[in-house]
């Protein structure tokens, strides 16, 4: 794919919940290898936007061009195929993104098998390799996620998503609900993987520290609207919108 075409190009996207705005008037481009952070207070529409972008929610209006093709016009089989090949989704709660009754190896292997891998030895070898990449010891390969700590579960979810080398990864609060020290380690790991694999990422967070560490660019949302959009340092160090100024200063006080 050429570098002079956005990976994802979004125009005038809107999603309503009855009379209430989920998100509206959202337009942006995501370039290959770029990490876009979406920040904003609770209820500002971050998850709604991410859901629409990843095809988990049906938007009401607008255009989502992925590599030039409108995903809203795609058939469901096409969209589902994308979701298990070129896209990945990391949930805040690992329970939503893992099969808790299936071993760690089976969890990582699922996407491989979903795209036709039929050699047990090869699948196991790849799973072992990926557990190593997310710092889970190979001897835990046959353990169920239930026996893992929260941080390990989240790393397993990441391995399970990245094993097929997706191009575009959606993440909704991937470090939420974890202890600060566990968060730091996970962030480090994520940053390394994003860099090494050249991933394009859209990450929702209301933790501005996470945004600063991972995101190249930021969109600030409020009441379903994008109220500020720019390079991460610019947005965080020199916020233009009054709301962003408040958001940034309130974080600094914590």
């Amino acid at each position: 794919m050429t570098q002079d075409q956005p990976l994802l190009s979004v125009r005038d996207l809107a999603k309503m919940y009855g009379g209430r705005i989920g998100c509206t008037d959202v337009s942006f481009d995501l370039w290959p290898g770029e990490v876009l952070g979406i920040v904003g207070e609770s209820g500002s529409g971050k998850s709604t936007l991410l859901g629409c972008l990843s095809g988990q929610l049906a938007a009401d209006r607008g255009q989502i061009l992925y590599r030039g093709r409108d995903t809203r016009q795609m058939s469901e089989p096409e969209r589902r195929l994308l979701s298990r090949t070129e896209w990945a989704f990391v949930h805040q709660n690992p329970r939503d993104g893992l099969r808790m009754g299936v071993s760690a190896g089976g969890n990582v292997g699922e996407r491989l098998m979903a795209v036709g891998a039929r050699h047990y030895g090869d699948i196991r070898e790849t799973a072992t390799d990926w557990l190593g990449r997310v710092e889970i010891s190979a001897e835990r390969i046959d353990d169920r996620p239930r026996q893992f700590s929260g941080g390990m579960q989240q790393r397993l979810q990441i391995a399970r998503n990245l094993v097929t080398s997706p191009k575009l990864v959606f993440m909704d609060e991937p470090t939420g609900g974890l202890d600060v020290s566990v968060q730091a380690r996970l962030l480090d790991l994520l940053r390394g993987l994003v860099r090494d694999m050249g991933l394009s990422v859209i990450i929702v967070t209301h933790d501005l520290a996470v945004a600063r560490l991972l995101a190249d660019r930021l969109m600030v949302m409020k009441d379903g609207h994008v109220i500020e959009h720019g390079l991460t340092d610019q947005v965080l160090d020199d916020p233009q919108a009054a709301y962003t100024q408040l958001l940034v200063s309130s974080v600094l006080q914590v």
């Binding site: 299936v102 071993s103 047990y120």
Partner: protein, 284 residues
């Protein structure tokens, strides 16, 4: 003697037509689970009410019915279903596989190869092979429609990871004509190769779950596996202690309080027939 209080084969004609429509749809889309409005039958679920309804919808007065349970014609379950149709449809019954036109079965495929014109009706407890992996029916329906079956291999992967080999020995999943993955009901995997390219019509009825599915004659049926862990239709490594057959599915039977064991054909009619033939041969 027909019990005149009932319509032929117990079910009313409208119900039988409804079931036949489901059967025809099932035959047109091999391996696809067709919903149908399962009726109360005068026997509890788990006694094969799905199979009984399918049999009732297929039977004609000219048919000869055989009923087996785990290969045997003389278990309580098999006897009561056979009696049920003797009473409500007045059809001829038999224990000889080759003489039957309709065979209702629980958990086995007869050893004698079936022929064109025969119908094999399976009693199915749980028709959805994805059930234990994905409980949401809305999702499993999509997975079937789109042939998204990676999850079936996750199950086999887990088997190998835990037991060193694919330990699933009953209800071993198959893929039909390269599309639908199907649960062949709890037959031993030894019987799986007989599902494919079979001359008979195979019909599957799940009463409680209200599903019917089917394999028309000579359908391509493949047991799922891995390249490095290929499917194996295993059986006990013995010959039958009664008839000497070395190629049949065997039951292990405890014969006394000391725990003595013997291996005998699970298909009792096949075994008895072989024994009779051997005796006749010896008498000559």
């Amino acid at each position: 003697m027909t019990d005149q209080a009932y319509n032929f084969a117990y079910l009313d004609e409208a119900t039988k037509r409804m079931i036949r429509r489901a059967l025809l749809k099932g035959l047109a889309i091999p391996g696809y689970q067709v919903p149908f409005a399962s009726r109360e039958m005068p026997m509890p679920y788990g006694w094969g009410t799905g199979g009984v309804q399918v049999t009732a919808a297929c039977l004609t007065p000219e048919d000869t019915l055989k009923v087996i349970d785990q290969g045997a014609d003389d278990t309580t379950n098999a006897v009561s279903i056979r009696k049920f149709f003797e009473r409500t449809a007045d059809v001829a019954t038999t224990e000889a596989t080759a003489e039957a036109t309709v065979i209702q079965t629980r958990h086995r495929i007869p050893e004698v190869p079936l022929t064109e014109g025969q119908i094999l009706v399976y009693q199915v407890p749980i028709p959805e092979p994805l059930r234990f992996l994905e409980p949401r029916e809305s999702e499993t329906r999509k997975m079937h429609a789109l042939s998204e079956y990676g999850l079936m291999h996750v199950k086999l992967y887990e088997d190998i990871a835990r037991h060193g080999a694919i330990a699933t020995s009953y209800a071993y999943p198959v893929q039909v004509e390269g599309h639908y993955v199907m649960d062949p009901s709890p037959i031993p995997k030894f019987d799986n190769p007989k599902l494919g390219d079979n001359a008979a019509i195979q019909l599957f009825g799940a009463g409680r779950e209200q599903r019917i599915y089917a394999l028309p004659p000579y359908t391509r049926v493949v047991s799922l596996d891995f390249e490095d862990h290929p499917f194996e239709p295993t059986k006990a490594d013995h010959s039958c202690d009664l008839c000497g057959a070395g190629d049949t599915y065997l039951d292990e039977v405890i014969t006394d309080d000391q725990g003595s064991r013997m291996f005998v054909c699970s298909d009792t009619n096949y075994c008895v027939t072989r024994q009779a033939e051997a005796e006749a041969g010896a008498a000559q």
